[in-house]
């Protein structure tokens, strides 16, 4: 029996993994194991097999490659793929190795160690460990995790909730999806640890509708965790039966990813942003103390408990500790997931991991931090990837999305696209965002068709300033940045149309 490993991740499947599985299904002597993905998506579909000395991989495989693989010829040891060997994998260490729904494999690869450690600690000691780790939330706002947990723990209430924000709205990001599809027990473990620390008995994972495979895998994983006794299987509220965890699926909308909007949506209402305070850690779901954290944030927690806060804090820069999970997309040669300590420059990341531009493409700009992130031209790639450097530059790391645009990209059209997105997705609660985005789109549309008026670029700058300072949440507050950085660095393209 020859055992081959093939990823079951949505992007591996979109690249052709299912086609291989189908073509090879009835091959005698072949056992096909579906794993998570290593995140080296430019190599998918990637097929691996155990050889003396470790896994060997064949990349961009087609059905006809099977004889070659079975003969063991032409593959490369996984340990020698530079895209992977240059990374510091912590949260994504097991990706591409294990089967997503095998709790045994998860435990064998270090899983559940964090929970075991947490069981030996008092809630206060758990929170202290997170404080030492200096972990900050990975959903965008980068708030210290321990602090939020402390507030929820100290707020007295008959019930408390733990909510995983799996809305992953930023285009260009996919690490939450990979976690949910590839190592769902890691998310569950992180939520369980949080529940112990704050004293919660119920949790929800709010998963976006665009991720049907993730929702399915999570539900299956929850069922297994219940059978293994990790999770309680009683209905929510039946005290004493352990932590009850459930997946709820959303119905579109970017703004629903904002934590107060997310809680509104979880309760079944319109996903509209609410004024804070109170913060969810004090008064969240059904008015109870609630930890809302990003999927990746929860997924980091088990490693910190298992290996200690000091170990985690030893990586990264002064105020950005640990590893950063970047997701490279757009016109690079090697799109995929990169986990490295904070502190490398954007240029290093694009060269060492992105591998430069896709064949035939020339660099124009890179956007970091999703649809609300700033654009960087070639002259600004020296910026360090950490919260401070980005804040200083008026930019955001967001959820770690990096999108590279080539020189065929029309910057005026791109700016219009950003404002159209804002107008489409604004929840409508505050005026600067609701009206400002429509006005912004209109101005850009008239510039685009050659009807721009003198002063339109100043008008956009003014409008941007109003949105930045007067919007209720970071959606309206950040929406002007991609547009204004497009004008700042590529102004000539706008002015040319306004002559």
């Amino acid at each position: 029996m020859t055992r081959l490993y093939l990823s079951n991740d949505t992007s591996a499947r979109a690249a052709g993994a299912d086609r291989l599985a189908k073509a090879w299904a009835h091959t005698p002597g072949l056992e096909l194991i579906r794993t998570s993905s290593r995140g080296a998506f430019f190599l998918e579909p990637l097929v691996e097999r155990d050889m003396p000395g470790g896994r060997v991989a064949w990349s961009n495989v087609t059905p006809d490659d099977l004889p070659r693989i079975l003969a063991g010829s032409g593959g490369a040891p996984v340990s020698q793929i530079p895209f992977l060997s240059r990374q510091t994998r912590v949260t994504f260490a097991n990706f591409g190795v294990t089967q997503p729904l095998s709790l045994d494999e998860y435990s064998a690869c270090g899983g559940t160690k964090g929970l075991e450690r947490a069981r030996q600690l008092s809630p206060g000691a758990m929170i202290e460990e997170l404080k030492v780790s200096r972990l900050r939330g990975r959903g965008g706002a980068a708030f210290p995790v321990w602090n939020k947990w402390q507030i929820a723990r100290e707020t007295a209430s008959d019930r408390k909730y733990v909510v995983a924000n799996a809305d992953e709205g930023d285009a260009g990001t996919y690490c939450d999806r990979m976690i949910m599809e590839g190592e769902p027990f890691r998310l569950i473990e992180g939520m369980l640890i949080c529940a112990r620390a704050i004293g919660a008995d119920t949790g929800y994972i709010y998963c976006r509708k665009e991720y049907p495979a993730a929702a399915g895998t999570l539900r299956a994983a929850i069922e297994r965790a219940e059978r293994a006794g990790l999770l309680g299987s009683g209905p929510p509220g039946s005290h004493g039966t352990g932590f009850h965890l459930e997946v709820l699926v959303g119905a579109g909308s970017y703004v629903v990813g904002e934590e107060t909007a997310l809680l509104e949506s979880l309760e079944g209402r319109r996903g509209v942003v609410q004024a804070r305070p109170p913060y969810p850690a004090v008064s969240g779901l059904y008015g109870r103390p609630t930890i809302v954290s990003n999927v990746l944030t929860f997924a980091i927690v088990p490693s910190i408990l298992a290996r200690g806060g000091e170990w985690y804090a030893s990586m990264g820069t002064e105020r950005s500790r640990g590893t950063v999970v970047l997701q490279i997309g757009g016109r690079v040669k090697q799109p995929g997931l990169v986990e490295i300590p904070f502190g490398a420059t954007l240029e290093e990341v694009l060269e060492r991991f992105g591998g430069g531009m896709a064949p035939g493409a020339r660099f124009k700009a890179v956007q970091v931090g999703g649809p609300l992130g700033s654009l960087f031209p070639a002259s600004r790639l020296g910026i360090r990837i950490c919260y401070d450097a980005f804040a200083e530059a008026g930019a955001i790391l967001g959820h770690g999305g990096i999108v590279v645009y080539d020189d065929e990209t029309d910057m005026v059209e791109l700016a219009r696209h950003f404002m159209a997105f804002t107008a489409d997705e604004s929840c409508g609660k505050c005026t600067p965002c609701r009206i400002g985005s429509v006005r912004g789109r209109e101005i850009l549309e008239r510039i685009q068709v050659g009807r721009g008026r003198p002063g339109d670029l100043d008008l956009l700058a003014d409008l941007g300033e109003t949105m930045k300072t007067a919007s209720l949440c970071a959606f309206g507050g950040r929406a002007p940045y991609p547009v204004l950085t497009a004008i700042e660095h590529f102004g000539e393209e706008f002015r040319r149309l306004m002559k």
Binding site: G39, D176, A251, E267, Y286, P335, E425
Partner: protein, 159 residues
């Protein structure tokens, strides 16, 4: 057909109602509407009154949720729902060319359904397949590295 739809609706509403009474909290309008859409293909506008009544909320509450979420529909889509990604990573990978090919192949614009009821086309901001874009989602299948000239062939898989 209409009657079948209505009794299915009543059954779902009963389940939704039970769900919230056992948990002693207000009814979850969004999850109820998603369950209805799953069973009926859409949430017909004429059912809003009945839904509101069963969930013991106002019609405005139901209509408000229904109109807020892009994935909730008041009319059933074609047999297959095509979602073309226009998220930034796919924009960078020139998804406008895929959209043009889609328009050519189907003769419809975004938001429309083909005459034979086979396809509805929608825009979407990211399906999490950014590293393998441009992306096209047909029903629950995600297709990656979609070449504009291959769009017709890809759609042949869907009857």
């Amino acid at each position: 057909m209409v009657e079948e739809g209505l009794s299915a609706l009543a059954a779902i509403l009963e389940r939704c109602r039970l769900n919230h009474t056992t948990q002693s909290r207000p009814p979850n309008i969004l999850q109820s509407l998603l369950a209805i859409q799953k069973a009926l293909g859409s949430v017909p506008l004429h059912a809003v009154g009945e839904i509101a009544h069963a969930l013991e909320v106002t019609e405005a509450d139901v209509a408000g949720v229904l109109s807020y979420y892009p994935e909730l529909r008041t009319r059933p889509p074609g047999r297959h729902l095509i979602r073309i990604c226009i998220g930034e990573s796919c924009v960078a990978n020139h998804c406008d060319r895929v959209l043009a090919a889609l328009r050519d192949a189907l003769n419809i614009d975004v938001g429309e359904t083909t005459m034979d009821g086979r396809f509805t086309v929608q825009r979407i901001y990211c399906v999490g397949n950014c590293a393998v874009g441009p992306s096209l989602m047909v029903d629950d299948d995600v297709h990656g590295r979609v070449a504009p000239q291959k769009v017709g062939e890809l759609l042949n898989e869907y009857e």
